[in-house]
């Protein structure tokens, strides 16, 4: 148990280190000089060189990398080359917005997938199961942004029930916050839910074929209680794996969905950074996203151990 924790932690730290090098390296070799971008095409070479010196871009790449990383470790994300604003507070602000979106989307996905997948497995030979299967197949094929546009057309434009876009922090106006959260979270959650449903279905199908479920029935449990008490936890193991992997997809989906719904999240910050050639901002946001995905997958690893006692054997 302890050994596994140490092992997983080591893996996490190594992945973090490697990914920081990759993120920094890719953006460093990218063409386009931030100083030139900041000053415009008409600036003199001297002015550009001066600004490069100010930004510290004239130093060796290794020095820049170490500086950047040390800053991150101390919570200092640096100052934007373009807007001259501190990046740290922007990221914290935007991260909360995206977190709401992603977590709500994930919850919706689970609320859709767990019952739908279970019904699909339990009735896989019956019409209701097949109908759900077909429905989820359609869901898998729809990208989140398209789902978002369709939802806006239906609920905002046609029915006028919900606002089409915008964002209000929960502390400011909880009612408005919820109304504006529903559509973007749905467009993320429904699509992810459709994907997840298929994994839940196959996990539950596997469990239904297990001998221990027959033992449970032989004890006198009826089919559903048997599945609930003996199948759920066993089926959860493969589903949790997918959940961890899906988080990355969900973050990418959030970037697009934030654009569709005009939400000031991490995704729109990233896209703004890219179009403004705000190199340091992009670098920081990408790093934050990478850390989020790695940390969640680390937590998923620990969750396995909680779910499956067979993994607790000390090697």
């Amino acid at each position: 148990m302890i050994l596994r924790l140490v092992e997983r932690t080591a893996v996490l730290l190594v992945s973090l280190a490697v990914s920081s090098v990759l993120v920094f390296g890719f953006l460093a070799v990218l063409p386009g000089d931030p100083a030139r971008v900041a000053l415009g095409v008409n600036a003199s070479d001297e002015a550009v060189a001066e600004l490069r010196r100010q930004f510290g871009l004239d130093r060796a790449l290794t020095t820049q990398y170490v500086d950047w990383l040390t800053g991150l470790l101390h919570g200092d994300f640096g100052t934007s080359y373009i807007s001259k604003a501190e990046i740290g507070p922007q990221i914290t602000d935007r991260f909360q917005v995206t977190l709401w979106l992603v977590v709500t989307g994930m919850v919706i996905a689970l609320l859709v997938a767990a019952p739908a997948g279970t019904v699909m497995a339990a009735r896989h030979r019956k019409l209701s199961g097949l109908a759900l299967s077909a429905f989820s197949q359609v869901g898998v094929a729809v990208p989140a942004f398209l789902a978002g546009i369709l939802l806006i057309m239906l609920f905002a434009v046609k029915l006028g029930w919900l606002p089409a876009n915008g964002w209000t922090p929960p502390a400011e106006d909880p009612g408005m916050f919820l109304r504006q959260l529903i559509l973007p979270a749905l467009s993320l959650g429904l699509v992810q839910g459709a994907v997840l449903t298929r994994y839940v279905r196959s996990a539950v199908l596997d469990v239904l074929r297990e001998d221990y479920l027959r033992t449970a029935r032989a004890k006198g449990l009826r089919p559903f209680p048997a599945l609930w008490r003996h199948g759920l936890r066993n089926a959860a193991v493969p589903v949790v794996t997918v959940l961890g992997l899906q988080l990355a997809t969900l973050l990418i989906g959030a970037v697009v969905v934030e654009r569709v719904f005009v939400i000031p999240g991490l995704g729109s910050l990233l896209l703004d950074g890219v179009s403004n050639r705000d190199l340091l901002l992009v670098q920081d946001v990408v790093m934050v996203l990478v850390v989020a995905v790695l940390v969640v997958n680390f937590l998923v690893d620990l969750l396995y151990v909680a779910l499956d006692p067979r993994l607790r054997v000390s090697r």
Partner: protein, 357 residues
């Protein structure tokens, strides 16, 4: 537990002594615990088990033997109502004390019988237990489901005691993967015996186990049913085990019961040609002793039944054994009638031991 049972050692061979002839007679007189009539199990149009009749008296131990694919396990699952999807059962399965037929009963009513009046030990212990649940909880659940223990605490204490009885101590908080196959099968046995069932069905409970622990598990099964006066339906292809623990035996082939009777009678004087072949193929003494009349210890080959068990649906009509039977004639194309009665009988046109009459 009776004093006789206490006297038993871990060698199951002793068990035969437990049953005095008087006991056996008494059990035959009382109404049967299990009465199966015309049990037919089929998948779509294909009959896998046909028209099986069997009954088990109170406290009686009945063996069900036959090669793989003869329908033994399906019969057991059919009785329990736990057949796989798409497999259906027809006929009648009655359990004494239960006022409805088990065939066609809904899940709600069946689940009250399963694990309570009727329990089962399966063949494969490695996968029979939930890997994410502690042993004692899995045993305790059997009692909580049927409310034979009122709360979690007493159920757990009862579970620990049940585990003690199958000689598993200090493993209550363990998970299945921490136990060996033999230990797991004892846990399954403890679960099956938790509510003192009137009938315990064991489907090849020792087949998947090491030879060294087979005797121990058999002994524990025997002690368990004896202590509770439970009847036992024991499915196996091991004739020696049947001879050791059962009073009566049914021989199945091709989804039919082809012969039944008291173990001693069937094994010493088989009438159906399939039973005869089965016994000859297990007769190690004859194989060791060499041909009669020679002092040289020449090893004979063990006789085998020619051919193999056909795949389901490919058994011949008439007598199901006729394609492999050396005595088969034209008349065998007709279904042989049952000769004898419920307690002793066979279905064969050319029974063994009748040639010289």
């Amino acid at each position: 537990m009776s004093s006789q049972a206490d006297r038993q050692t871990s060698v199951p061979v002793d068990a035969v002594d437990v049953v005095s002839p008087a006991d056996a007679e008494a059990s035959e007189a009382a109404p049967a615990v299990l009465t199966v009539r015309g049990l037919t199990i089929s998948v779509r149009d294909l009959e896998l088990v046909s028209d099986v009749d069997l009954s088990v008296g109170p406290g009686e131990r009945v063996g069900l033997i036959g090669e793989s694919g003869s329908g033994k396990s399906l019969t057991a699952l059919g009785i329990l109502g736990l057949l796989p999807e798409d497999v259906t059962a027809a006929g009648s399965v009655r359990l004494s004390g239960i006022d409805h037929d088990l065939i066609g009963a809904g899940e709600r009513r069946l689940s009250r019988v399963r694990g309570n009046h009727l329990a089962m030990v399966f063949q494969e212990p490695m996968t029979a237990l939930n890997p994410t649940m502690r042993i004692a909880d899995q045993v305790a659940e059997a009692m909580l489901v049927h409310r034979t223990q009122s709360n979690r605490r007493t159920a757990r204490a009862a579970a620990v005691e049940l585990l003690d009885r199958v000689q598993l101590t200090g493993i209550a908080r363990a998970y299945p993967h921490q136990l060996s196959g033999g230990q797991r099968q004892r846990v399954v046995l403890a679960i099956a015996l938790a509510n003192d069932p009137a009938l315990l069905i064991c489907d090849e409970p020792t087949t998947a186990l090491d030879v060294t622990v087979q005797a121990m598990v058999l002994d524990l099964i025997l002690r368990g049913v004896t202590a509770r006066d439970s009847a036992l339906l024991f499915i196996t292809h091991d004739l020696a085990v049947v001879a050791t623990i059962c009073q009566r035996v049914l021989v199945m082939y091709g989804g039919r019961v082809v012969e039944s009777g008291p173990v001693r009678e069937v094994f010493t004087n088989p009438r159906h040609r399939y039973t005869e072949g089965l016994l000859a193929a297990s007769d190690l003494e004859a194989a060791d002793s060499g041909p009669v009349g020679t002092s040289e210890p020449v090893r004979r080959r063990l006789p085998t039944i020619q051919g193999t068990v056909p795949a389901a649906g490919h058994f011949p009509d008439g007598c199901v054994f006729r394609t492999r039977c050396p005595h088969a004639t034209e008349v065998c194309a007709e279904r042989p009638p049952w000769t004898g009665d419920q307690t002793r009988g066979f279905a064969c046109h050319h029974p063994a031991g009748a040639d010289d009459v």
